[in-house]
Amino acid sequence: MQRGLNPFLTCLFASLIVLFAGGPVILSLIGSVVPDRILLDGSKALFSEGLSFETYRYVFTGQLPDSYLAENANRAMISDAARQVPQSLLNSGVIAFSSMLLNLLIGAPAAFVFARYAFPGKQLTFMFLILSPLVPAVALVTPIYIMLQALGLVGTQAGIILVHTAKALPFTVLILSVFFRKMPAEIFEAAVLDHCNRFQTFFRVALPLALPSIGATGLFAFMLSYSEYMFSMVLSGDAATRPVSVVMAALARNTDVSWSLLNTAIFIAIVPTLVLVVLVWRFVVEGLLSGAVKG
């Protein structure tokens, strides 16, 4: 029996949460469709000139906003970096997706073995895996750079993918092993009696049952890679390999930057994650809930 909730309080807190989480997104959306001269002029109403998509046009086609074509306009405010956003989105997509795929390919079987089987050194390796994220990333930048340089992977997407995979792997293994451990042991014993070897037990029984949690961890790995900055910056080369986090940083570092343009870039960078969350997260939550209720 659920207790009745005060609808007013519920609404209030829900609004606060939406405002806290969604506020910045909405701000950047508004900022991106209002030209600079209005954004920076306190005396004019925000939408007094209607919506303007000039900055979006610039990002995708390179055509300068009309106001910057006028004489004496400070064209330095229009950063070239903004033109790299579409390519960097693609780069980030490739990197994050590959890192997610590798994470699941390596992490899911590893998590299963950690959760279900005893083997020598299990505790030690698991501890090592779980504690490894505690090492500060800054301390690892140089050694990893040297290693990747030796492999000839500096300035390539493959290098970034490898590092991102390694960074997310401890979380993937930890989260998935918890899920695998929660599954009733008898199902796996039944599989053993049904002539399944370990691989078959994993692929035919464990994996289908873990799909929702695998979706969730996959999304997590994707996000981790998508938003990672330090290694991306150090390891990426020219614009062709640069992920979106690096481009965004370059854009924001410019103190004179057009606010409208910056907001445009920010909003474009947020969109893929929003889409992913809406598409994947709902499926994941439904899966988790139905599993929890039906047992």
């Binding site: 199902i187 039944a190 009696l193 002539h195 399944c196």
Partner: protein
């Protein structure tokens, strides 16, 4: 079709001895029930037979062949788990055919076997459903169906009915008995429910603290329990135990209660126990009758609680000098009231004597 033989089988988890030195021969086509309180090692014993648990020491033979290096899947056994352990992502038909598919059986062959098993269990109309769309009883049938499909030499049931409600449990119990008739396969059945054990078993193995207490047919165990544990574990309601002292004379043995010295039983012949030593007298609730106060052996008492079960009544009687209430079962619609004073008479033919260590001295006259 196969026999199962255990030779001095033991299992320890670290320092904990879960199963100690169990030797047992289960004949082909026999239905043997392992029964005991929870944590007694009965499930571990079954899991060792299944190959899910390694045997620490001793030998296991199925069909006369040692199983030491035989994988669980190749032992010719099928197991029905307590939680059913159906694969939630597969339909009933897929659940039942999974093992055959893994063994590489031909599709047509699989279909006919699944259909046959579904027919036996009357679940033909459920084949396309997922486990979560089934009721507890239906899931149980599917779990049994999954075992039948494989045509195993030995069926293992691990507390299969404990998740069902009482009515369904009684029904499934009958069905399992029927199934055993029909399939004529060796079956090993683990339960903590002594009613299931008594009703299903050809032979019962009573296990306590990892050790076999007694092996025998249900009636054998009921009438001649080897020790106090078996006597107390089997039978519902439970046997009454009364501390007593035996005195020998020409005519036989007289038992007096240890607390009050009242004579409660006379047995013919000599009981092999020293005079004056404290022993325990075990009497089942249905072996106690109500007598008039004039009977020399009548024990006076007072009814504390009456439970009317319809066809019979259970009386819980307080007797001077006994810590525990005596349970008395009375057939028919007798009229008893709380607080009523009555006299009890123990039936010597259905009495059991246990020595200080709990071992049986004798049962009956």
């Amino acid at each position: 079709m196969a026999s199962v033989e255990l030779r001095n089988v033991a299992k320890s988890f670290g320092r904990v001895e879960a199963v100690r030195d169990v030797s047992l021969v289960i004949a082909d086509r026999e239905l043997v029930v392992f029964v005991g309180p929870s944590g007694c090692g009965k499930s571990t014993l079954m899991r060792m037979i299944a190959g899910l648990e390694e045997i620490t020491s001793g030998e296991l033979l199925i069909g006369g062949k040692p199983m030491k290096s035989v994988a669980a899947a190749d032992r010719g056994i099928a197991m029905v788990f307590q939680s059913y352990a159906l694969y939630p992502h597969m339909t009933v038909a897929e659940n039942m055919s999974f093992a055959l598919k893994m063994m590489g059986t031909a599709k047509a062959d699989i279909d006919s076997k699944v259909a046959e098993a579904a027919g036996v269990l009357q679940i033909e109309d459920l084949l396309a459903r997922k486990p979560k769309e089934l009721s507890g009883g239906q899931r149980q049938r599917v779990a049994i169906g999954r075992a039948i499909v494989r045509k195993p030499d030995v069926f293992l049931f691990d507390e299969p009915l404990s998740n069902l409600d009482a009515g369904l449990r009684a029904q499934m119990r009958v069905e399992i008995a029927r199934l055993h008739e029909q399939l004529r396969t060796t079956m090993i059945y683990v339960t903590h429910d002594q009613v299931e054990a008594m009703t299903l078993a050809d032979r019962i193995v009573v296990i306590n603290r990892g050790k076999v207490e007694q092996i025998g047919s249900p009636l054998e165990l009921y009438e001649k329990p080897a020790n106090r544990f078996v006597a107390g574990f089997l039978g519902q309601p439970k046997m009454n135990f009364i501390p007593a002292i035996a005195t020998h004379s020409e005519a036989g043995t007289t038992l007096t209660t240890a607390s009050s010295g009242r004579t409660v039983l006379r047995l013919g012949g000599r009981v092999s126990i020293a005079d004056g030593l404290e022993i325990e007298l075990g009497v089942r609730p249905d072996a106690i009758s109500i007598s008039g106060p004039l009977d020399e052996l009548a024990v006076p008492g007072r009814i504390v609680v009456v439970e009317h079960l319809g066809g019979s009544s259970l009386l819980y009687v307080e007797v001077d000098g006994l810590d525990q209430l005596l349970t008395v079962e009375q057939r028919g619609k007798a009229n008893f009231a709380k607080g009523q004073a009555i006299h009890l008479l123990f039936d010597p033919a259905q009495s059991h004597l246990f020595d200080g260590a709990g071992n049986r001295i004798r049962s009956g006259r």
